[in-house]
Symmetry: C2
Subunit: 323 residues, 2 copies
């Protein structure tokens, strides 16, 4: 999950120095600074690049902006004709500041801190491209994908190709692991999940692994439920991020023999703090700590979270808890 | 799922005769008419009472209204002090028109058509009571339940008790099966799922079964994923409604030996119609039709759905499909 963010006062200070959110992602000085903030404050074992999944549609030429307090707004692409605005040339020039950020982070981070690059997975990125922003029901995206799977598949293809190249360039700039966020994977029935989640995720993993077989890829098909298992089997990811709802005993039994697990504390529990936080954090460590495991949240941190709750969580999972 | 609704022109005609949506639920003449509409049009095997899950908080004394095109608005209850507005006396007088509707339906429906009563499950109803309407993140409900589980548990208790009595009265009025909708079960981590979904659902099933052991209860913990299995094991429901994302082979293997399954066509696929609809409907019948199974949607019908898509779906699943 994004480690830096509005819950940190030092982040809010940097954020005020730029107008738009994308400007922050494209300004290496500032993106490096906010990526390092939680590492300096908490001493995490890994740092995740500060960026946004929508830099890819932005680089492809779609109009993307972040309205203050409203989330992203895109000029929606609703049919094959709409694909004409996308151009694959120049994508990496546009993304050069992100690569520069990765390069600098790679130099500035202590050697024991792993640098994780990331991208949005094609289905999730496509929902924003088609809906023109966040959505509750993804109705336009679903309707297009059902009425014209070939046309919608062309959009997925364009995003898949750009995303795979984007991730490879992050590795070239110094990323040591990669995460692929499919935040809206969980709304799809299994046939659509196969076609729009598993297929493009597999393609990306395969392209990256062909060039960089040693770089671990973490998949995050959020909300996949039972389909987490098929996702691991078919995509070839090394690890999966578990959303907050995945039951621990099931994950330990069915998933952990096949992949490293990451997750899955509920951000609402971190926000609440206190006994509930300590109890749940210990449960997660007890249930998943016997196999390959990375402690993490199951979703993004809530902006009202007191930073001291994060510090307390670290104490608990590092075994210095008082309780 | 609600069978009658805005996708039917005959429903929209009746809807225009009353001011508020709740007025429709509380006017037996009209509630009977709209319950029967889809039975007359399509000849379904079962009819589901036309009502709303929010009649229970309304009957308990919370202010509930439906703003046109905006969904429900409730005067939110955000802490233990807020529970003071709820009064358990008079609940069934308030709900008498619903019981009258069930009685009339029981007389008017052909004997071969099963009459299904229903209620919202306590967690889902509580989210509306606490948030004051629909929500994206259920932040207030989660925060209260984490900070003060005893106080929030008192709300759940009140709703559980009222709901169990409400369902028993529906049976007394002629309902032959009952469905319990826990539409927001799927957002909860497993410990909260145990406490706020499994426990109150079990209590309701147990109260109903004590009085009416022969009445089948269908649970719908929407989005429960892997936890569908535990839900069946622990609540004692006879059947579960599967949401659109539950994979069919898994459901057939893990769930169908323990419960009748109902579901799970995606309403987006029904809206789209055509080949995709026919293919998916046949897949569902093929995969789940060898055990106890009720064909249904995996979520509510979308109001733009052409009524002829529903007719075509019936042809396909009744084996008269042309394809």
């Amino acid at each position: 999950m994004r480690q830096a963010g509005r819950y940190l006062p030092e982040y809010r200070k940097v954020r005020r120095q730029v107008g738009g959110f994308l400007e922050l992602c494209y300004t290496p000085d500032l993106a490096v600074e906010v990526t390092l903030q939680p590492i300096h404050r908490y001493g995490f074992d890994a740092a995740i690049l500060f960026s946004d999944i929508l830099v890819v549609p932005d680089a492809l030429g779609q109009e993307v902006r972040f309205a203050e307090g409203e989330g992203p707004k895109l000029a929606p692409i609703r049919d094959v004709a709409g694909l004409a605005v996308l151009r694959e040339e120049g994508v990496h020039d546009h993304l050069a500041p992100v690569y520069e950020t990765v390069r600098r982070l790679s130099r500035e981070l202590p050697p024991e801190v792993t640098l994780i690059g990331f991208a949005g997975a094609p289905w999730t990125v496509a929902t924003y491209m088609v809906e023109g922003g966040s959505s509750r029901d993804f109705a336009t995206t679903r309707a297009w994908s059902l009425a014209d799977p070939e046309g919608f598949g062309r959009l997925i293809e364009i995003v898949t190709k750009a995303t795979a190249a984007y991730l490879c360039r992050q590795v070239e700039a110094g990323a040591e692991a990669l995460q692929l966020f499919d935040s809206w994977a969980g709304i799809l029935p299994e046939d659509a999940f196969e076609r729009w989640v598993i297929e493009p995720n597999s393609q990306i993993v395969s392209i990256v692994k062909q060039k960089y077989p040693q770089v671990p890829v973490i998949g995050f098909p959020r909300g996949a439920g039972v389909l987490y298992e098929r996702y691991i089997d078919k995509t070839g990811v090394n690890a999966v991020s578990l959303d907050t709802t995945v039951p621990l005993a099931w994950a330990a039994e069915r998933l952990q023999p096949k992949a490293t697990l990451q997750g899955n504390l509920d951000p609402q529990v971190l926000l609440a703090g206190g006994e509930a936080l300590e109890r749940r954090a210990r449960e997660i460590v007890t249930m998943l700590g016997n196999g390959p495991f990375i402690f993490n949240l199951g979703h993004g941190i809530i902006k009202e979270t007191p930073p001291e709750h994060v510090a307390r969580l670290l104490e608990v999972i590092r075994g210095n808890g008082r309780g």
